[in-house]
């Protein structure tokens, strides 16, 4: 358990709902859930994850801190926005799910083998380096996510697809060398740094 995690757990002892309200993006909306279950019924990933949004919200109110933050549930969200569109209380459920995922990641509580969490990290690394998504590199890093051997196997299996994409100019091979970037790269990095600082400071302050 990280120090920050321990500190926050101690600080909000017995009131995980307040911890979520204070630290999770849109977390203050969790208390407005009326437990109708429409989100759970609307989720296309419903059968595949441990807890539906309805249950996650209930678990937050029931002080199940570890169970919520270590859950793979919010990582399974595909951002289809069905739940937001249908929620009678108009809760930003998708955003709350991502907010919870981010918070769990910050506290280092993400399940180690969770593939979407890995992908999310790869995506972030890819995006944050130049401010643009480098699709070629993202694809390659995804192939080799689980080691070199498996990466080669996946690449071989998709050989034909790759060639066709090259032919139809759906894949730019020159992206492999450097790739394109935002105009003001240093400004972009400064912005990200500042945002991270604000976020860290807030949560740091909340933990004391």
């Amino acid at each position: 358990m990280s120090d920050l995690n321990q500190a926050l757990a101690d600080k909000y002892k017995g009131n995980f709902l307040k911890e979520v309200i204070d630290n999770v993006e849109e977390g203050d909306r969790v208390q407005m859930c009326m437990q109708c279950g429409v989100c759970a019924g609307s989720c296309p990933m419903g059968p595949h994850w441990e807890h539906t949004p309805q249950k996650i919200f209930m678990m937050i109110r029931a002080n199940k801190r570890e169970a919520v933050l270590a859950s793979d549930s919010m990582w399974m969200c595909t951002s289809c926005y069905n739940c937001i569109a249908r929620c009678p209380r108009e809760l930003p459920i998708t955003h709350i799910m991502h907010g919870l995922a981010t918070y769990a990641k910050r506290l280092n509580l993400v399940p180690k083998t969770q593939p979407t969490a890995k992908f999310a990290q790869l995506f972030w690394n890819n995006l944050s380096s130049k401010g643009r998504v480098n699709e070629l590199k993202l694809g390659i890093s995804l192939y080799f996510m689980n080691g070199f051997g498996e990466g080669v196997k996946t690449a071989m299996a998709n050989q034909k697809l790759g060639l066709n994409m090259l032919k139809t100019k759906r894949m730019a091979i020159n992206e492999a060398w450097g790739g394109h970037s935002v105009k003001d790269k240093s400004g972009f990095h400064a912005m990200l740094k500042k945002a991270a600082e604000i976020e860290n400071d807030t949560i740091e302050a909340n933990s004391k």
Binding site: L17, M34, M58, K64
Partner: protein
């Protein structure tokens, strides 16, 4: 009015009646068989010209009663309203042409149907007279309100503002009742976000300042008697030392019973440790804590510590089938718990600006019910303030405030350690003595004793429970308003919520059904309007609901009466007493004109001016009964005019066809159906009889409460009659029909036609 009966029969040819039916033939039937003085037809009878034609005949003295053969008696009532003149309506439109196919094949039977209805109308009119008010009493514009809680106070102020004198009787030494004990109440106005003041103090002040209102504190009704328009009431006051003053007698026109509710005894809930743990309290006790704190931090009773985590247990001993629990929902407790959680949240917010979650409040519910226009908004406001809602069933609360429950969303057991536990225990109506139950118990006891058997302890226990009467009515039918289920005062739930079975006495507030303060105030206003209507109607000799405005009332032929008292027993409204010789004594103002007494009378001596054994019996006999070989059976339908008859009319509007062999007669209530009508019908060759009335039982829809039930009981005994006539039991059917059963009523008729087809025609055709 001239003594000689001169009937005018008027046949309408409008609405396609002229095309579908041979109206000349109908005129001839009216003249030859109906023996009317005048028979005319008109192309558009309900138009100004048609009505004038009728009015001219009345004015010139050619007709002193009219038969109108046109549409249903429920249509065009304004056009065909000839005051002082008995009027019979023959239903040729909804009753004949609209329920029959328009083809040559059906023409003959359709015409026969119309002819029979004309015969029936002409027969009925001979036995109708115009009802007149008896002038039995005057108008007493004085309303008595029993109970000084929010319901009673609202009723009193509403009546006073409408210009009526009010006497308000309250048992305790202050006005306010249960609402007066509250710190605040759930909001009654938009945006429904925060608890609001109860308004009790202002209301009490208004009443004290109003010179139309007399307030009697520390007082009860020691006696009440009379009828709408002339109740005599004795008010007894008790002094602080326990002595009582001499009773004051006042007279009033109507009574509103707003005796409220009492809190369920939480000591019965041993699983929640209520009697052992000081920090397990009821909602009313929570109100007292909030009142004491008055906006400051709420302190728990045991050690005065400021509470940090409060758990509200919903449905404590309610909505449960366990022994000793309440089976019903008390309607206000969810909103009350949200309100009380807000007391805590709002206080905490004041204390720690900005953060609203310093006091944790958890509401444990199984089904959250927040009735009223603002209920959902109030719930949302509670969530917004940080009240936690968890769906779960509480199994136990221990002495230390550990609440064990099973979470119904997460499907697991959980325990919350609370500083203070508030139980939502619900309400019990304060509705007086249950006379019916008392009679039942004492009859049971008497019978067992007579048989030298031991009386079970639970019967003795129940008899021993003392219940105070609210009204102390001196009616032969008992001291209090009858009760229906769970001790609530009976009232027609769907149609006439304030109308009890004692005319002129209206029930309002939680004595009638569980409710919150806002609903109680609405209830009080409604009951006041009914109480005012009762006074005004009684003054004119008119009936109260549902035959409001009816001037007819039952009388009996004394020389025929056998003093059997069945009319008194069966009257649902306690309108009939009896004199020293045992003859019935009618109390016109209490009577609701349903005719249940007429249906009950075994010697058939009871009648109304315009509705009697003869007015229906002669219609039955007026029908033409074809002989057995014609293969045209005849079915009689006696349909309750409140629901079944409108349902038949609506079926006709939808052109749902039914058998042409049926003849429908509307009755005031199935309770007014005398078995003689059935016997006569079967004797004179009808093949089947169908009775259609309202739903009976605990969730009755009968407009006269017991009428339909009586009819069912009487008809269950008709089998004997059928047997003596050597007829099949299937020839008589009784159905419960709702006004919405428009598809079903034609089916019921056709079913009987089919049954007759199978079992064959009646042998009684002459």
């Amino acid at each position: 009015m001239a003594d000689e009966i001169k009937t005018g029969a008027y046949i309408c040819k409008g609405c396609d009646l002229g095309n579908r039916l041979n109206t000349d033939q109908l005129e001839m039937i009216a003249t030859r068989e109906g023996r009317v003085a005048v028979a005319k037809s008109h192309d558009f009878l309900c138009g100004a010209e048609g009505v004038k034609m009728i009015q001219d005949d009345i004015d010139s003295g050619e007709a002193n009663r009219v038969v109108i053969a046109a549409c249903s008696r429920r249509a065009k009532t304004d056009a065909f309203s000839f005051s002082e003149i008995p009027t019979s309506r023959v239903n040729l439109r909804e009753g004949v042409i609209w329920v029959r196919p328009e083809d040559d094949e059906s023409q003959e039977t359709t015409q026969e149907m119309a002819e029979d209805y004309v015969r029936m109308g002409c027969a009925e009119i001979k036995f109708m007279a115009t009802p007149k008010a008896s002038e039995e009493q005057g108008t007493n514009r004085h309303v008595l309100v029993v109970g000084g809680g929010i319901t009673g106070m609202t009723a009193a102020i509403e009546a006073a503002r409408a210009g009526y004198q009010v006497s308000l009787v309250e048992k305790s030494d202050t006005l306010g009742g249960t609402t007066g004990q509250l710190y605040k109440r759930a909001p009654t106005r938009a945006p429904y976000a925060d608890p609001e003041d109860t308004g009790v103090t202002e209301l009490a002040k208004m009443l004290e300042d109003d010179d139309k209102v007399s307030i009697y504190l520390n007082s009860v009704l020691s006696s009440s008697d009379g009828a709408p328009g002339r109740f005599d009431v004795e008010i007894s006051a008790s002094n602080a030392d326990g002595s009582t003053d001499a009773a004051q007698t006042i007279s009033c026109g109507s009574i509103i019973q707003a005796s409220g509710q009492i809190e369920y005894d939480a000591n019965k809930l041993t699983e929640f440790s209520y009697s052992e743990a000081p920090d397990v309290i009821t909602q009313l006790e929570m109100e007292a804590l909030a009142k004491a704190a008055d906006g400051g931090a709420i302190k728990r009773p045991s050690d005065g510590k400021e509470v940090q985590h409060v758990v509200f247990v919903q449905c404590a001993g309610q909505r449960s089938d366990k022994e000793g629990h309440l089976s019903y929902c008390s309607g206000h407790c969810c909103n009350t718990s949200i309100k009380q959680a807000m007391y805590l949240k709002d206080n905490a917010e004041k204390a720690a600006e900005g953060s609203s979650i310093d006091v944790q409040t958890t509401i444990l519910f199984t089904d959250l019910r927040t009735p009223g226009a603002g209920g959902e908004d109030f719930y949302r406001s509670g969530q917004n303030k940080g009240v936690t809602f968890r769906k779960g069933t509480v199994s136990a609360v221990d002495k230390n405030g550990n609440v064990t429950f099973s979470d119904l969303i997460l499907d697991e057991e959980d325990t919350i350690d609370a500083d203070l536990v508030v139980l939502a225990t619900g309400m019990i109506p304060n509705s007086g003595r249950n006379n019916e139950r008392e009679d039942e118990l004492s009859a049971q006891k008497t019978q067992l004793e007579a048989e030298n058997k031991e009386v079970p302890q639970e019967v003795l226990d129940e008899i021993a429970i003392p219940v105070e009467s609210i009204l102390n009515l001196k009616y032969r039918q008992g001291s209090d308003l009858p009760q229906l289920v769970s001790g609530f005062n009976d009232s027609h739930f769907i149609c006439f919520p304030y109308e009890t079975r004692r005319t002129g006495i209206y029930a309002a507030g939680p004595t009638r059904r569980p409710m919150d303060t806002q609903q109680a105030q609405e209830d009080a206003t409604g009951a006041t309007m009914k109480a005012i209507q009762a006074i005004e109607n009684a003054g004119k000799g008119m009936a109260a609901h549902p035959r409001a405005g009816d001037l007819s009332y039952p009388s009996f032929r004394k020389e025929g009466c056998t003093q059997c008292k069945r009319c008194m027993m069966e009257c649902p409204f306690g309108a009939i007493g009896f004199d020293d010789k045992g003859f019935p004594e009618y109390n016109e103002a209490r009577c609701r004109r349903c005719g249940t007494c007429m249906g009950a009378c075994p010697v058939r001596v009871i009648s109304f001016e315009n509705y009697s054994i003869d007015s229906v019996g002669q219609q039955i006999k007026a029908c033409d009964i074809p002989d057995e070989f014609d293969e045209k059976p005849r079915l009689l339908v006696l349909a309750c005019e409140n629901d079944a008859y409108p349902a038949l009319d609506m079926a006709a509007q939808n052109r749902f066809e039914y058998s042409a062999f049926v003849r429908v007669i509307p009755v005031r209530c199935l309770g007014s159906v005398n078995t003689i009508w059935i016997t006569d019908a079967l004797n004179s060759g009808y093949d089947g009889v169908v009775l259609m009335g309202c739903k009976k039982g605990d969730d009755y829809q009968c407009h006269f409460v017991k009428g339909s039930e009586m009819a069912h009981t009487r008809m269950s005994k008709i089998a004997d009659t059928l047997q003596t006539l050597n007829l099949e039991a299937e020839r008589v059917a009784v159905h419960e029909v709702a006004i919405t059963d428009i598809h079903r009523v034609p089916e019921l008729i056709n079913d009987m036609a089919k049954t007759i087809d199978e079992i064959g025609m009646s042998p009684f055709k002459f």
